[in-house]
Symmetry: C3
Subunit: 207 residues, 3 copies
């Protein structure tokens, strides 16, 4: 199935992004594998723990761990030659984000959640892996600061839920949502779209 193939590509891309961040923090090979794996599978794991959706995906399919660990190890050895592939990487990463969102929505729907929670589950699947990566690397999570990443996950999930509600064919709806979400990501990167932020440095008295 196409969605499953996209999912496998996405976890490889996410594992690479985690591995690169781990290398920048001088982690050893074990740390690189852990951060890569948590980046790739952490969003879905948090979603399933919050929904009580057991057993977890990577416990049913341990081969996912081989994909993420393999991707992290390969990245560790070839990362210094990858900068030519920057735009490929960003596109795969963006495709992963929207695919994760749609898959997260599907799992919440299968667990009988209301539409708001379905969309939230998609967003958590899409962005919480990167959030865990940044916490492990002792950074303020990038998705909370200046990426339109999360907005794209929410947009993709909302579009997907809306299409299903309109009785669009359930083999077509995820593809439309993924296509539109991916296009949004490309445009956001191209034109540097971002959400407003608020200079909070002058706020006093709430320590």
């Amino acid at each position: 199935m196409l969605l499953h193939t996209i999912y496998l590509i996405a976890i490889v891309a996410e594992a690479m992004s985690g591995a690169i961040m781990g290398m920048r923090r001088d982690m050893d090979l074990f740390g690189i594998c852990v951060v890569g794996t948590i980046t790739a599978l952490g969003g879905g794991t948090i979603r399933d723990i919050l929904l009580g959706n057991y057993p977890l995906g990577w416990i049913i399919h341990p081969q996912y761990l081989l994909f993420t660990i393999g991707a992290a190890i390969v990245t560790a050895f070839v990362a210094r030659f990858l900068h030519h592939l920057r735009s490929v990487f960003l596109m795969v990463d963006g495709l992963g984000l929207v695919a994760f969102s749609v898959i997260g929505c599907d799992i919440a729907r299968a667990n009988g959640m209301v539409p708001g929670i379905v969309i939230l589950a998609g967003m958590i699947t899409g962005v919480f892996g990167g959030l865990l990566r940044d916490v492990l690397c002792n950074e303020i999570p990038l998705v909370l600061q200046r990426e339109l990443y999360a907005t794209i996950a929410l947009f993709t999930g909302s579009l997907y839920v809306g299409l299903l509600w309109l009785n669009v064919d359930p083999t077509i709806a995820p593809l439309v949502a993924i296509g539109c979400g991916f296009l949004y990501r490309l445009l956001a990167m191209r034109f540097h779209w971002k959400l407003p932020s608020f200079n909070g440095s002058g706020i006093r008295g709430f320590e």
Copy 2:
């Protein structure tokens, strides 16, 4: 019910405290909403995951998410005018702490936990939201460093469990515990009470 009203006020206050911390870290509007929501609902979520108490509260009542997201958005736009309200904010925040503790105890009791775990569940509900907030904002959690916050949560929970054990009327006991815990918080703030800390900078050999 009074306890429920206090709970709603408390999650709004906690969401505001998370939103303000997020603004100080230059987060965008999405990040402010995430940190606000996790600050407000994170303590109860961790408690329920540890107890295996599914489904989670905000999945049964998704409207709680609207409260916390709404509070975070409003805070983002009005925070610079809020410093006149500092003492109101601190009182609502303190009320939230003791209300969270009592509610956490109730949920652990309903899950058949022993008294020690009931008090611990109250404490986790009261302080782990703020702990997650500080981890996301890349800070050493304030509650672990110099607030009497956690002590007040433990005091409130212990008092509540003690009153129930003494067969105090279960509509009276939470109000007495909340009242005494809140008084303790006010006194602790007024007189700068704090727990001992230990200068660990000279300890060698346990890296």
Copy 3:
């Protein structure tokens, strides 16, 4: 049972390590107890949440919390006199690591997991307590950077699973695995063995 005695010694050692780290961050007595307890019981808690293995160990046996809290409090008061005990501490800590790994494997096996997940569960039990400790103390987790800690947990778990697969007596197998894992830890400390790390500071274009 010997394994249970080793477990109790191990959680005391881990709680001490957490308490010392907390003291270095100027935490108060409450923070020291929380960090000590999470260091000692956090790895097993994460394992059980991931496996869906409820109720959690310290909810069935709340006395474990008394051990870890007691160890943290004692450490807070005597830590400045402990440096003479450095080598004892490191040996107890190493023993704890391998005991945690074997116990984690046992629990995953009792939950019907495949061998790869069994070994992973042992590793998570051994190292994720220290990982949580470092996240709470606002550090990049040491186990991800330069300790052979995780490798020893994986080695111990793999050896244990291998011995059981070879039908070694299930009262002998854990002792052999613990003995060999502990020896490996001693050798790794003595000869400063470490995994390769990769200088990632020059990698561009994957922000």
